[in-house]
Each structure stands twice: as C-alpha cells, then as structure tokens.
C-alpha cells in the first residue's frame, strides 16, 4: 500500500519531488565528503610529520653560528633527543629556471637544502627519504601543483644545470602559507653554489617528550643561542599543514549542513501543502478509526524513501568524488592511518543527513495529533491564527486599494507563516552578500593595510645580510634621490625585550622609524609619533594585555624605556606579533630592515621593483600589488569561487523555496481565493494581492539579510581575518553590488519563481472549492 501511495504522490509532483531529492543527495554527498576528507586529513598530517621526523622546535637564524655552544647546549639539555643546524641557501628567485619558467615573480624565499639524516627529512611522493646525486634537483611539490615545473624538466640554479628528478614533500614548508620553499640538491652541488646565495641556519630540535616544548623554549631563550629570527614549533607546522584541507573539510560539512536546512524547508513546504490538500481525507481516516501512527506512517513513507534514496545516492557520489577530492591531499601528505575509515565515516555522515530528514518529517507530522476528525470534516483546514481582525482595517483606509490592503492584512494576520519565507530570503541574501563583500574587500588595493603593509607601491626588504642598518641606509638614500619616487621611508626591525603579564621577560620585534608616512590600519589609536610612544600589533596587544594609553617598559639591551601605547594595528606579517616605535636603539641588533616607497606613477611599480633588485642584489624588491596577489592569490581565488558559488546557490535557493512556498500558500488559500473570486475579484486582482504579500516578505527578508550581512557578516568575516592578526575589519565592497545588484537579483528570481508557482492556480476550477 505504501508503495502505491508514494508512487501516486511522486507522479503528481514530479518537479518538486525531484528538486527535494536533489537537495538531499547534495547534502548527503557534501557531508559525506567532508567526513571522508577530515578522516583522511588528520591521519595523513600525523603520518607525514612522523615519517619526516619534523622538528619540535626551530629557530631561523641569519648570520654567524657558534656550533660549539649549540653542541654544548644540546648535549647538556636533557629534553633534547636530537638536533641539527642545516643551512638554507637562499637564492634569488630570478636565478631559478625550471623548464621554460623562472621564479623571478615568486614571493617565496626559494633556496637549496641538503638532506640531513635523522630529522627534518624531505620525502619523495612515495614517502621515501630522497638521496639526490649530483645534477639532480628535487622541487617543492607546490611548484608541481601550480604547474611551474614538470618531471624531467631542464633546470638551472644560478647558472648551474640540473634535471628535475622529482618532487618533494616538506613537512614544514609544503603549504603556500609557509613563506620559504626548499629545493633539494646533493652536497656537491650545494657547495658549488654556496657563493651565489646567502645562508640562513635552520636550528632544529627534536625533543624526547614533545609535551615539554614550553620548558624547552624557555631554556633555549635563556641559553644565549641565536634568537634573531622567527621561531617555529611542531604545533604550528601541524596547523599549517592541516589548515587548507581542514578549511575545505569544514567548508564541505558546513555547506552540507546548509543544504540539509534547504532540504528541510523544501520538505516542510511540500508536506504542509500536502496535508492542507488532504485535510478531509485525514479526517476521514481518523473518523474510520485509523490510528495516528498509521496515518503518520503513510505520509512518512514517501520521505523515508526519499531520505534513504538520497542518502545512499549522496554516499555513492562521495565515493565517486573521493579520488579527485583526496588526490591533492594524498600527493602532499600520502596515505594516513585514517584512510580506511573514510568510507565508513562518510556513510555515517550520509546516514545522519537521511535521519535528520526522517526525524523532521516525523516531528512535523505531530500536528496530526491536534486535528480532530469532526473539525476536519466540517470546516476543512483550520485557521492559522484567529487574531487577525484588527489592523489594518479596510473600513478605515483612506488611500490604499483593496488588493493592497488585503495583501498587507494577510501578511499581518499570518506573520509566523510568512516569517519562514522572510528568514529564507534573509539567509539567501546574507549568503550572497557576505562572500561577495569579502572578496571585493580583499581584492581592493587598500587591503594590504590590513595585513600590516602600509599603503605603498614598492617594498624593499633587507634580510639575512650583514650590516643591515648601513644597507638599509643606502637604499633609503637611493630612494630619496630617485625622481620617480614620490615619498619613501626606511624602517629597521630590532629585537628588544619586555615583560609579559606573568612577569617573564620576552622578546619583542619592534620596527623602528617614521610610521606616519605609510600607516597601516589601526583598529585603535594612532601611529607612534614621539620617542615616548609605541604601537602594538593586535596579537601582541592581546598577549601583553595592553590597550591604547597603557604604559609599558621596554629594555633595549642597555637601558629601560617607559613608553605609552599609542595604538593597536593589524598585522599578518611575521607571525602577527610586532610593534612599531620611532625611537633609536643603537645598542640592539637589527633583525631586518625594509624600505617603502610611493611612486609618482604606481602602474610602473613592477618596473621599479626590477630596477632596485638589480641595483641592490641583497634586497628583496617587490611591487606591493604583486606581493599581495601572490601571498593571497590562492585564498583570493577560493574566496572568489566561493563568492560566485554562494550567489548562484542563493539565487537557486531563493527561487526554489519561493516556488514551493507559493504552492503551499495556494493550497492553503484555496477557499478564501474561491470566495473573493465569487465576489467578483478577477485573476488580476488576486495576482496583485499575492504580489503585495510577496513584495512585503521579500522586502523585509532582503533588508534584514543585507543588514545582517553588514553587521553580523562583517564581524564574522572580520573575526576570521583578525584571528590571523589583522586590524578591525570593514567591508569596502562595491555598494552597488551589495545593496542593489544582489538584492535585485534575489528579488527577481524569487518573484519569477513565485509567479511560476502561482500560475494556473487561479484558473483551476475555483467553484469546486466553494462546493466543498
């Protein structure tokens, strides 16, 4: 019997059933894929880091290294299991050529590395430790993925010829988020090229007990060993490795959850419409003594079948997409222990989706309980709300036409019913506006200010070189003399000391110089102006628990300074923990320096960058537009794709839900529609009434959506961005798109779908509804 009922119902509403089924399939596939990816990811990250024997602690250091004292420290400290001080030979990207391409435009620090036995291993794509022979170049996987290099390519580094012998997995620097990339060569080739680059030491430690990392870090800081470079640790490597695929898994699961909500709405509206239509039959079933559970089962049958079918199909789809989805992950990290769990976990995810549909329908069918057989037979469907007879009164209206009044009245009287639709529209608007605004904000030229890079055209960095101050001064001099340069400034970063809230002395990277000419974005306060002031990055302000106006004490190696915090700014560079001040600290050692310039003609930034790169080979010259593009291109691309996808999905959802809502409304309103038609209202009048209702609901929904996107959405996007250390975030999207194009598109698609949904509804012999 169930089979026949399901068949009849499906045949009667093919389109709607198919659409709902598709959403269930999509939801199940998304959730299942998210689960599979997560399972794979966490296994694979750990497996890779285990196989590569990733260091637990690493100090980058440019300059002299006292190997003897390092040796002494490592042997005396009982936490240390193993250590190494590998040399990273940093070579300008322009001197790398791979096949027909070069790395001249790369914003990564590219360099050579030789394999060290024991720890921090670079692995082949089969997960084996690579042992390069002379003439072989192993290339970071990232350059295979972005199509820069291919296996067997002719390559050259600083004039020396190589063959691309393979690609490597680097458990530290695989991710584009890591700013350096290691190429693997033989010892012989490395020595031959030593003079063509600058050496930076990666001082790495493996600990006997990884949990003792905190204690070790403290011991290292006390030891007097090199400390003037970034330090990185195991948890951070793990995070960097997991973050992009982790985000993808989260995104998949999240879109899955969203799609489940859409499916539930589809189910809700079709089910309500169906119950509305079958009201009398349900009454009859109750009257002849069928039990509630039996009646519920008849209605549940269809949705249980759809949920089961959709869940299974979604799971099947996720299995089919498993290979391409996990391919990238497998390539960068290999198989993990979780791989076998994948299909089972994704089956669990798909089942959860199916189950949620069935539970929801079962819950919605609870309303049968409230239905008395006698009432159903005598009056047809019950009124939604009785309290509707006041406001607005037809008899008191002066201006509005009767159709407008009836439309307003109906929405007012059945607020709860229409609220569902308004919420859907608000959600769709939110969904379309937030990613779009995020994208246009990130793509806007001012965005570098959020990252802690002042708004300028050219940046010249001096790092890992002797005598940083003198070299920086030379560059600053050249910039001042250059007629193409509008304004410029040179800033030197030095390692000073302060105390954290617990009283421990910690290092603080302070960028010294004039911070007024190329200000970054301050979430609070202003740049430091006098020698008595300092500004903190958002992350440092949080760590040190300082706010604008607070006092803090800095030790510069020879004396203590009492400073006032002038402001807090956003910074995504250098791990987000920096400070800015304008005093001199001649005693302190410089870590790096950078010069910033604004050009008379910003469009010639690339050309200027090249000119300075040739004139000052030790400086890393980048045109800021290119810098931002490359650092963020992957992120920007995915945000862009997400924005387009969201807009498309929002439009589709708005249309589908509007259509279903209209069908439900028409089923519900058969009798009042029949009455007003009998009284002499034409189909055009009815269309006008329904249009007024739709416009009201759409207007409220879309406005709420835009408002929410502008406030909640902005904070949400801001929270994501500030968690990386950026300043307070504001959407700077195109208002024409946000406030006009997207709302108009949504309203249009919803209105169109409503129109299609309502079409023919009035023509269906309305007199039949009067005969009831």
């Amino acid at each position: 019997m169930y089979y026949r009922i399901i068949k009849d119902d499906v045949l009667k509403s093919k389109g709607v059933t198919l659409a709902t089924l598709l959403f269930i399939v999509a939801a199940a596939a998304l959730v299942a894929s998210g689960a599979a990816l997560a399972a794979q990811l966490f296994g694979a990250v750990d497996a890779l880091m285990e196989a590569a024997r990733t260091p637990h602690f690493m100090q980058m250091h440019a300059g002299e290294l006292d190997r003897a004292s390092l040796e002494r420290f490592a042997s005396l400290n009982e936490l240390v299991e193993d250590y190494s001080a590998g040399e990273f030979l940093n070579i300008s990207g322009a001197r790398f050529s791979l096949g027909s391409k070069t790395l001249a435009d790369s914003v990564q620090d590219n360099g050579l590395w030789t394999q060290k036995a024991g720890m921090d291993l670079l692995l082949s794509l089969d997960g084996e430790m690579i042992r390069p022979v002379d003439g072989e170049l192993y290339v970071p996987l990232a350059y295979l993925k972005d199509g820069t290099a291919a296996l067997g390519d002719e390559a050259s580094v600083a004039g020396r010829r190589f063959r691309v012998a393979g690609f490597l997995r680097d458990s530290q620097m695989n991710s584009p988020l890591a700013s350096s990339k290691r190429f693997l060569v033989s010892e012989g080739d490395f020595e031959a090229l030593r003079a063509d680059g600058s050496v930076e030491y990666l001082i790495s430690f493996r600990l006997k007990d990884p949990a003792a990392l905190g204690a070790f870090e403290a011991a290292y800081a006390e030891s007097g060993l090199p400390a003037n470079g970034p330090t990185l640790s195991y948890p951070l490597f793990r995070l960097i490795n997991a973050v992009s695929d982790g985000l993808l898994a989260a995104l998949l699961t999240l879109s899955g959850a969203l799609t489940v909500c859409i499916s539930l709405l589809c189910v809700r509206f079709t089910l309500l419409a169906k119950i509305e239509e079958d009201y009398r039959e349900i009454g009859v079933m109750k009257a002849i003594g069928l039990r509630l559970a039996t009646i519920k089962r008849i209605y549940l049958a269809k949705y249980a079948a759809m949920a089961a079918l959709g869940g299974a199909a979604g799971w099947g789809l996720s299995l089919a997409f498993r290979r391409p989805l996990l391919a990238g992950l497998k390539q960068s990290m290999g198989e993990g222990a979780g791989a076998g769990l994948g299909p089972a976990l994704s089956a669990l995810g798909a089942s959860l989706v199916a189950l949620s549909i069935v539970c929801y329908v079962s819950l919605a069918l609870g309303r049968f309980r409230r239905l008395s057989a006698a009432e159903a037979l005598r009056f047809g469907a019950p009124a939604d709300a009785r309290a509707g007879a006041n406001r607005p009164r037809l008899s008191r209206s002066r201006v509005l036409g009767v159709n407008t009044l009836l439309g307003i009245k109906d929405v007012w009287a059945r607020k709860r019913l229409y609220a569902v639709m308004a919420i859907v529209m608000a959600a769709a608007t939110f969904m379309a506006v937030v990613p779009t605004s995020l994208y246009s904000t990130m793509a806007s030229p001012g965005f570098s200010a959020y990252m802690g890079v002042g708004e300028c055209d050219l940046r010249l960095g001096v790092q890992q070189a002797e005598d940083i101050p003198a070299r920086a001064a030379a560059i600053a001099e050249a910039l001042r003399a250059d007629p193409a340069v509008l304004s410029s400034v040179a800033l030197t970063t030095k390692a000073l000391w302060t105390t954290d809230p617990s009283g421990a002395r910690i290092r603080l990277k302070v960028e010294l110089g004039d911070h007024r000419s190329f200000p970054v974005l301050y979430s609070d306060g202003v740049p430091p102006t006098g020698p008595g002031e300092i500004a903190l990055s958002a992350m440092n302000a949080a760590d040190l628990r300082k706010a604008t106006g607070d006092a803090m004490v800095i030790y510069d190696g020879s004396s203590y300074r009492k400073l006032r915090v002038s402001g807090v700014y956003g910074d995504l560079t250098n791990g987000g923990k920096t400070a800015k001040a304008s005093f001199e600290a001649p005693e302190a050692e410089a870590m790096w320096a950078a010069a910033y310039a604004k050009l008379r003609d910003p469009s010639r930034a690339a050309e200027a960058a090249e000119r300075y790169a040739t004139a000052f080979p030790y400086a890393k010259a980048s045109d800021i537009g290119e810098f931002v593009r490359q650092t963020f291109s992957a992120t920007l691309d995915s945000v862009k794709t997400a924005a387009y996808a969201s807009v498309a999905v929002a439009l589709a959802v708005a249309a589908l839900i509007s259509y279903l809502f209209m069908r439900m409304l028409i089923a519900k309103d058969r009798r009042p529609v029949a009455i007003v038609k009998a009284l002499g209202f034409s189909e055009a009048d009815l269309s006008a009434q329904f249009a007024v209702r739709s416009i009201l609901v759409l207007a409220v929904g879309v406005s709420v959506g835009v408002l929410a996107a502008d406030t909640l959405g902005e904070s949400l996007a801001g929270a994501a961005i500030t968690s990386f250390g950026a300043a307070a975030f504001r959407f700077t999207g195109d208002p024409l798109v946000t406030y006009l194009a997207i709302p108009a598109g949504l309203v249009l698609s919803s209105a169109l779908a409503s129109y299609v949904g309502a079409r023919g509804a009035g023509r269906a012999a309305f007199v039949d509804h009067l005969k009831e």
Partner: protein, 252 residues
C-alpha cells in the same frame, strides 16, 4: 417582461471519456426583473452547477446565457468578474467570509474594489444594512465570534452592498437551525419586496415556497414548474403544501 437572465439549452458534462456525465442536460431558464425564483431538486441533481453557470463563475459546455442583455460566453474572465461584482450578489450555503477580516470589512470588501478611498461612506452603508438585518452590534467582531445565522445575514448584507440586479442563493439556510433560517428567509423576502430579483436553489420545500415561481429539477433537467405568486408574509403553510405535493407527484 424585461429579463435579467435568459438561459437556453445549457449543457455541462463532468468526468473523463469513460465516465461522462451530463450534470446539466439542456436546461433553459429565464429570470425577470425583480422576480423571485427557486430551483428545487434532490441533492446531486445539478442545482449548484446551474447557479454557477448562470452567474458566470463556471462556463457551460453548451447553450447560451444572456445576462442583462450581454452574452456571457463573449465576456472574458475580467469582464465576468466585473459583472459579478457590480450586478450580482451571492449567498452561499457555508458562511464564506475571510477569516482575517472583521464582519464590517467582510461586508464592504467587494464594494471597496471600485470605490477606493470611500471606505467611510461604504462603512456607513454597510452599517445601515446590518442595522436592518438586526446585526448592527456585530460590525467589529471577528468572523469566529458570531453565530452561523448572524454570519449568513452578514453575507446577505455583503451581497447587497453594490445594489445588485439579482441575488443568488445556494441553499442559504442549509447550515442553519430553523429559527436562524427563518430570519434569513425573512430578510430575503424584504429584499425582494424592495425590487431586487432573487434566484435560490434548495432541496427544502419551506425555502422554495417563498418564491414566486418554483422550478423542479431532476438529473440535470427541469421536469416541472409551479407558479405560487408573490409571498407577502402570510399563508406560508399552504404554499409549502403545494410545493410538497408537486414534488411527491414527480417522485422527487
């Protein structure tokens, strides 16, 4: 005699090819200006179908209807709606009010369609009609707060708002107890006395007995007619007996 309605050879069929049924099988009927007719017949004989055809709510498959000199088949959906709103009034078996409007708003609803901004004047008219129907105090009430008989009387007020040529009634007392029914029928009598034509369909002899002319219907066709003359409020029992006798003779 001038006619409001002239209908000839009306045919209406329902059902698919297999189970075709003629619900109206060549019905012809005239309604004069200010006349009061009743169509009697057992349930399922096609009375409601006839009424819907005459009022332009449903199109017959064959035959011809002239309303106030206009051929209904020549009118579009919009023109038919206009005609219903301006020239006809309806009273249904089930109280047919919009739940979200109060009684007064329900009464003025259709009238307001063509008189935007004249709500005050229409309300005054509605109140005086309701006064006459003895339900003046119910104007501001919710639809759910009044009895079936009161609702039906409000429905008649609604039907009169546009001063129609004819009021159609489909078993207007079908859902009422006898005293409530009496009030409604008395109201219809007064309306007729005021010069408005009335066309009722009913299976109840006590209702049909108020009409000047009773048409008997069976299986989609008229089988007889009885002329009773104008009912002035007295001698109802004799009229009812005449109708009942006629029905019995026809075997209805």
């Amino acid at each position: 005699m001038q006619h409001i309605i002239r209908a000839e050879g009306l045919i209406k069929t329902y059902g698919g090819v297999a189970a075709r049924r003629r619900v109206l099988d060549g019905v012809s009927v005239d309604l004069g200006r200010g006349e009061f007719i009743a169509v009697m017949g057992p349930s399922g004989s096609g009375k409601t179908t006839l009424l819907f055809a005459l009022s332009g709510m449903d199109r017959p498959d064959g035959g011809r209807i002239e309303f106030d000199g206009q051929d209904l088949s020549s009118l579009g959906e919009r023109a038919l709606a206009d005609l219903r709103r301006k020239r006809m009034g309806f009273v249904f078996q089930q109280p047919s009010m919009l739940k979200h409007l109060n009684i007064l708003d329900n009464v003025i609803l259709a009238a307001l369609h063509d008189r935007r901004g004249q709500a005050a004047r229409l309300s005054a008219k509605a109140r005086s009609l309701m006064e006459g129907a003895g339900i003046a105090e119910l104007a501001e009430r919710d639809v759910s707060q009044v009895s079936g008989g009161q609702l039906q009387r409000a429905g008649i007020c609604r039907a009169l708002m546009n001063d129609p040529l004819v009021v159609f009634g489909d078993e207007p007392t079908g859902a009422l107890n006898s005293s409530a029914a009496e009030g409604v029928l008395e109201m219809l009598r007064k309306i007729h006395a005021g010069g408005t034509a009335i066309a009722l369909v009913s299976h109840d002899a006590r209702v049909a007995a108020r009409a000047e002319r009773v048409l008997f219907m069976r299986d989609g066709a008229f089988v007889a007619e009885e002329r009773l003359g104008t009912f002035a409020g007295t001698g109802l029992e004799g009229r009812v007996d005449a109708v009942t006798a006629h029905m019995r003779a026809l075997g209805i």
